[in-house]
Symmetry: C2
Subunit: 346 residues, 2 copies
């Protein structure tokens, strides 16, 4: 079997799928051997693997490897595919990847070699699309820029160099002098735990902030551009992304700071007309009452506090300066002119 | 001696000053016996006592009680007063309270009884001003309102019913059905630890959120009004308050949601022309790299992460719907018409 090796996912020649446990970062780098799709669902739901593109690739590989071992009938294949599909409700890359495997399974009478090849294609496409986005997006960054990003969108969110963070590290590797403000990204701290870890590895200078500090940095002209990812993009350009994204969109609009989302075309939901149609996952109250991870667990608010904990928010397209999608930069105006994002990308 | 008894500060008849250790809330209610002004400085800097009005009252009482015991010369008195004054740089109530004691000391050749009376007056004024603000401010709240607040501005921030939170609990006690969204207020979690504790005690329904969630609530029309406090108000109406305040101001402006700051007139710096002249305290990096308190201590980001950690931000007056100051509601327009806040209050 083909040997795959990204910073967050590995496939050995003997067909063992390994996932880097992101809940243990930045302190420990533990790899989880994925037993089967049920195990993958658990790993996805516990956010041991996360990042919209990475979830799609990981789920597809686990389904393909399980099929190789078990040679299922179509009905059973589609059933397992459906459980994987339902593991998280917002990121659409997962649905898109599984739909592709389903189509191959249906068209080939469950040829497990074809299914595996399709999953490997999805992997390679993610790598290639990341490189394209990094190349195109990095042209938006100028020498001396001070950037701001939210959540984690790097090699821990994809199997390639990442989406928004790939753009940023690409600009750095081009020799542009940049500085990155990193939102810690409450409640699950993907910025504080993962983006800091990746930027440190890449040697990119960064400053960690709490999410509520971005506004005053902007008022002081200390942020030139904001880049972040997307978990689902609707046909009109509205998009769901990690909670706090819409906050930054409003702040950028107010301060006239360019605001870009960076995502592969696999993040587009061609069946979704607008942001209002995107389902948003509500997560457990304890995530907001305190913090928990490999670093420990504490709770600082009353144990019975009522909590609101949406994993994502929705940003309307008109607040975007542009969407970096694959090898293109699309503006909200272009989406309007073409009627929708699908047409604008043609 | 007069017996004082607020939820955050006590003075016994024998002259013992006790401070509720706010770092131990909400899990433990520990009272600290204040030994002398040096001890008070330590208590202030460690945020065991916090809230702009409360810090002013606590510092004034510790100086007055120390003077009673030690009968200092004017020079020594002013020196101790100056060290208290420098314990935190942004909240101006502290400076205003100590300036009043200094004036009494100078005018009375350090009559320690006069100094103590002045400190007791400052205490009583804070109680009275809180009641006035609660009364006037609560008229802005309608039955059925969904409110949002930031940091802690209640009985733990004053020696009275509070500023913004006093307004909110007053509306509740008037029988208005209200719901309060509470920003957790990173990094030190005064919302998650203290405001939740106070609202629970007062029986006011609340929902705890992370600071980056307010924007999407506003987009969903789930916030009718925002009330929060101030640590220093400049003559043009600009004000410093807990980091994250300016973020909310921009969000309210964008979503056309009324946005009020509530503060006693002791929070006005009559020597400060505008927000740009307000010094903003930078605090330790470890506060952002993790959390620490009576609930435990964890660090989730790399130990050497560079961090930006301003305790406050500055909100320009034009983003305010109004300032509730003592028994008045002042609009930015009134400040402009009268030339400055001092004139507008006359």
């Amino acid at each position: 079997m083909k040997n795959l090796n990204s910073i967050s996912l590995k496939l050995s020649e003997s067909g063992e799928l390994l996932i880097l446990d992101q809940q243990m970062l930045p302190d420990q780098e533990n790899w989880i051997l994925v037993r089967d799709p049920d195990h993958m669902i658990e790993i996805i739901q516990q956010l041991k693997v996360r990042g919209a593109p990475l979830i799609g690739v990981a789920a597809a590989l686990s389904l393909a490897l399980w099929s190789q071992k078990n040679q299922p009938q179509l009905g059973q294949f589609l059933q397992v595919s459906m459980s994987l599909r339902q593991s998280r409700p917002t990121a659409v890359n997962l649905m898109n990847a599984l739909d592709r495997l389903n189509q191959v399974a249906e068209a080939t009478k469950v040829s497990t070699d074809s299914i595996l090849n399709c999953a490997l294609e999805i992997y390679q496409e993610d790598v290639d699309l990341c490189l394209q986005m990094a190349q195109v997006g990095s042209e938006l960054i100028q020498d001396g820029d001070s950037l701001l990003t939210h959540c984690n969108t790097g090699g821990l969110a994809t199997v390639g160099v990442g989406t928004a963070l790939g753009v940023i590290t690409q600009a750095h590797s081009q020799g542009k002098k940049i500085h990155v403000y990193v939102d810690e990204t409450r409640p699950l701290l993907q910025g504080g735990r993962l983006t800091t870890w990746e930027l440190k590895k890449a040697g990119v200078p960064y400053t960690l902030i709490c999410d509520n500090m971005a506004a005053s940095l902007m008022a002081q002209n200390r942020v030139n551009r904001v880049f972040l990812g997307a978990d689902r993009i609707a046909l009109n350009g509205d998009f769901a992304n990690k909670i706090g994204t819409y906050n930054l969109a409003v702040l950028c609009h107010h301060h006239k700071i360019p605001f870009y989302t960076v995502a592969p075309s696999t993040t587009i939901d061609f069946n979704c007309p607008d942001g209002a149609s995107i389902p948003v996952e509500q997560r457990q109250a304890d995530e907001v009452r305190g913090v928990a991870g490999s670093f420990g667990q504490v709770r600082w608010s009353p144990v019975d506090s009522q909590v609101h904990n949406p994993a994502f928010d929705v940003t309307p397209a008109h607040l975007l300066s542009g969407l970096v999608i694959d090898n293109k930069i699309i503006t909200p105006k272009q989406i309007q002119e073409h009627g929708n994002l699908k047409q604008a990308l043609l």
